[in-house]
């Protein structure tokens, strides 16, 4: 019906150069594409292939985004936080022990009300026991997470063994210290020997291993994060490229039909083009948003929270280093060096004014100030508690860590919520585009029957 005189016009429109061999068929290179219906069918097939590819690429990128959020929000991320908690709990235990030995309150530590109802077990011991359980629980969780990695598993096991040894030395130091009055001064030699042994275990065995495990998992989280992030970026580029190609094919088909069948606009194909454009734009913007959420969760939440948790452990150990140098003056220089190194991280890390105030307070009581420096370690009213300035710094850090952990949680939730709709958007839009293409092309092909 409408086939008359199409050849020249259609070819001329598309072959802009205007140069055509008049002889053999124009589709010699593509056998089987002879005749208009075959070409329309081929172009339509291509127009259907494109959204299918777009569907696959969007799917892969959405999976990457979901994986990345899962890693940061639910798996590697929390594991890293757990390992940071191990270090924090160890630093707490260390600080409680040092404070008790400094203030000479060993009997309140050793007191077991089950055996002797006349004594009172003091708060430092309760806090120590709670933190020891925290550490143990976190280490056990770490051993579960270590899975089949033998190197990690051995390290986790060694931390558990070390905890036991540490506690034995601490108990021995407490028993020996309780026999002599030494509050705010050097420890008696027996207690000192045991304490040094305990400190060796803490400083050379437990802390390094807990720290190394945390670093190990941090590196793993970073690898997953960087990898998935770059893949989401590649996926976004792919979505844009495929979207553009799909639109190009649809436009090509539109033009071809327009010329061959002398129609101004094929509504089905126009709808399919718009739907493809919308899907491409929505997909690309989703992936950009996911990258932003991911970045907020990791770089705005997990990373600073981890750095702050490290600064918190450092602040506690720094406090304990000062206590140690006061009851173990023989090693004051070694503790002093550790103190100086940590004071740099306390100042440089979170940059909180409370940290500066705390260090200024310590600086007012140099190590050789003896009992005055020792009293400056603890609360003037309640010697079982660390100095108010130390507690203030702790609270400031806690607040900041809480904020960053909240940021991570919220960003992961937002990212996951944005992804949820794509479970149905993708298949539905694929079906819609396919229906529009078929609906647009079918009546034209029917004209040949």
């Amino acid at each position: 019906m409408l086939i008359t005189g199409i050849g020249g016009a259609g070819g001329g429109l598309l072959a802009t150069g205007g140069f055509r061999k008049p002889t053999t068929s124009g589709s010699a290179g593509f056998p089987g594409l002879r005749g208009v219906p075959a070409r329309v069918r081929a172009l339509a097939a291509l127009a259907l292939l494109m959204p299918a590819l777009l569907y696959a690429v969007t799917g892969a990128a959405v999976t990457d985004a979901r994986e990345a959020l899962r890693a940061v929000g639910h798996e590697e991320g929390p594991t890293v936080a757990t390992m940071a908690d191990v270090r924090l709990a160890l630093a707490d235990m260390d600080a409680e022990v040092a404070a008790v030995l400094l203030t000479g309150r060993e009997s309140g530590w050793l007191c077991d009300p089950g055996q002797d109802s006349s004594c009172v077990r003091e708060p430092p011991r309760h806090r120590y026991d709670i933190r020891r359980e925290d550490a143990q629980r976190a280490v056990l969780q770490a051993s579960r997470l270590a899975g089949g990695d033998p190197v990690r598993l051995r390290t986790v096991q060694a931390v558990l063994d070390g905890l036991h040894r540490y506690e034995q030395h601490v108990q021995a130091a407490m028993r020996d210290g309780a026999r002599t009055r030494h509050a705010y001064g050097p420890l008696p030699p027996g207690a000192l020997r045991e304490y040094r042994a305990a400190h060796e275990v803490m400083a050379k065995d437990l802390m390094p291993k807990a720290g190394n495990l945390a670093l190990d998992w941090t590196a793993e989280l970073d690898t997953v994060y960087e990898g998935e992030r770059s893949e989401i970026g590649a996926g976004r580029a792919g979505v844009l490229a495929l979207g553009a190609l799909a639109v190009a094919v649809l436009v090509l088909l539109q033009l071809y039909l327009g010329v061959r069948f002398r129609r101004v606009l094929n509504l089905g194909l126009a709808g399919a083009t718009l739907a493809t454009l919308a899907l491409t734009a929505a997909g690309a913007s989703l992936l950009a948003t996911e990258r932003d959420h991911l970045r907020a969760a990791k770089e705005g939440g997990a990373d600073p929270a981890l750095a702050l948790a490290r600064a918190q452990a450092d602040a506690r150990t720094l406090h304990a280093d000062r206590s140690r140098s006061l009851f173990d003056p023989g090693r004051a220089d070694l503790y002093g060096q550790a103190y100086r190194e940590r004071s740099r991280t306390v100042l440089a890390g979170p940059g909180l004014p409370s940290g500066k105030r705390l260090l200024d307070h310590y600086a007012g009581y140099p190590g050789n100030a003896g009992a005055a420096a020792a009293r400056a370690q603890v609360d003037p009213e309640w010697p079982q508690l660390p100095h108010p300035l130390f507690r203030e710094h702790e609270q400031a850090l806690d607040g900041r860590i809480g904020h960053h952990r909240y940021v991570t949680g919220r960003a992961v939730r937002d990212g996951e919520r944005a992804l949820a709709a794509w479970g149905w958007i993708r298949p539905l839009s694929l079906l819609a585009i396919a229906a529009l293409v078929i609906g647009g092309v079918w009546p034209r092909l029917a004209e040949y029957r």
């Binding site: 593509f30 081929a42 670093l215 770059s230 094919v249 070694l334």
Partner: protein, 286 residues
């Protein structure tokens, strides 16, 4: 007609390529270059050497490198896949190892000290694999010196040249201990001065002092075993080589777990009456 078909074919091919690249992750393998991809490994040795001049350093015997640090380097190189025939050693320095790495004269440095936090990082740092402590060497039987504070009013040997020159100054100026520095050319001269009662103490890292003490035989000089500062010895790597850094840290962990580190420590320092830590140190992080 041909043109339509051609355009369509090009579009189809491009689409399939893009989709394949994204879905199959063909282009995702953008790994940073690493020393682990190399054919050979040149190890720079930056351990603090007591004296200048090849052959006279305790770390070098007959122009051959030996010592704890080189053994650690050989072990780690082996774990990274470099057999002994593919590893070469070169001297590097305590202060210049970052420069050597950047210049490419060495691929990896043992005995490197970590970069100060305030300094700009120009290298990646794995480990440390061992923590050495600043300590004192005193005459056997000298009961008057129990820790570094007892040096007040005592004669402390100060090496005038070479990498050890700062050690005595650190005690006198850094810790503010009023000891009298007595200059000597080399660490060996210091040990001689100590045994002949011209100085009361020699300071340096415990590892070095242990080796020096071993040269005096029984009853000459003994390390005090009262550490007053800790220094971390690790592995310097080219900036950004995180892949190698993570691998090295893992191999260091294994070196301690398997007992290989303890064997090496005992071999090199066990006889020197020195308390050596046989557990893995805290890593700096890659």
């Amino acid at each position: 007609m041909r043109t339509t078909a051609k355009i369509a074919a090009v579009l189809a091919a491009a689409a399939v390529l893009v989709a394949a690249a994204v879905v199959l992750r063909a282009g995702a393998d953008g790994r940073e270059p690493s020393l682990m991809d190399g054919e050979r490994l040149v190890v720079g040795v930056a351990t603090r050497m007591p004296e200048r001049g090849p052959g006279s350093w305790p770390g070098v015997r007959n122009a051959r490198f030996d010592g704890f640090d080189t053994d650690v380097a050989t072990y780690l190189a082996g774990r990274l896949g470099f057999g002994r025939d593919r590893v070469a050693f070169r001297h590097s320095t305590r202060d210049g190892w970052e420069r050597d790495l950047a210049a490419g004269t060495v691929d990896i440095v043992v005995g490197a000290y970590p970069i100060a936090p305030e300094g700009r990082r120009r290298a990646t740092y794995a480990g440390p694999y061992h923590v050495v402590h600043e300590d004192l060497l005193v005459r056997a039987g000298d009961e008057t010196i129990r820790n570094v504070r007892d040096l007040r009013g005592k004669r402390l040997c100060q090496v005038t040249g070479g990498p050890g020159a700062g050690a005595a100054r650190q005690v006198v100026e850094g810790l503010g201990i009023a000891a009298t520095p007595v200059p000597a050319g080399t660490y060996r001269d210091c040990v001689e001065a100590l045994t002949r009662n011209r100085v009361d103490a020699v300071t340096g890292d415990d590892v070095l002092l242990a080796r020096l003490a071993a040269t005096t035989g029984d009853g000459g000089a003994v390390p005090l075993n009262a550490p007053f500062a800790a220094e971390r010895q690790g592995i310097g790597l080219r900036e950004g080589d995180v892949r190698a850094c993570l691998a090295v840290n893992r191999h260091i962990t294994e070196m301690y777990q398997s007992g290989a580190a303890e064997t090496l420590l005992q071999e090199w320092y066990g006889t020197a009456r020195l308390d050596v830590t046989t557990t893995v140190p805290a890593f700096e992080g890659c």
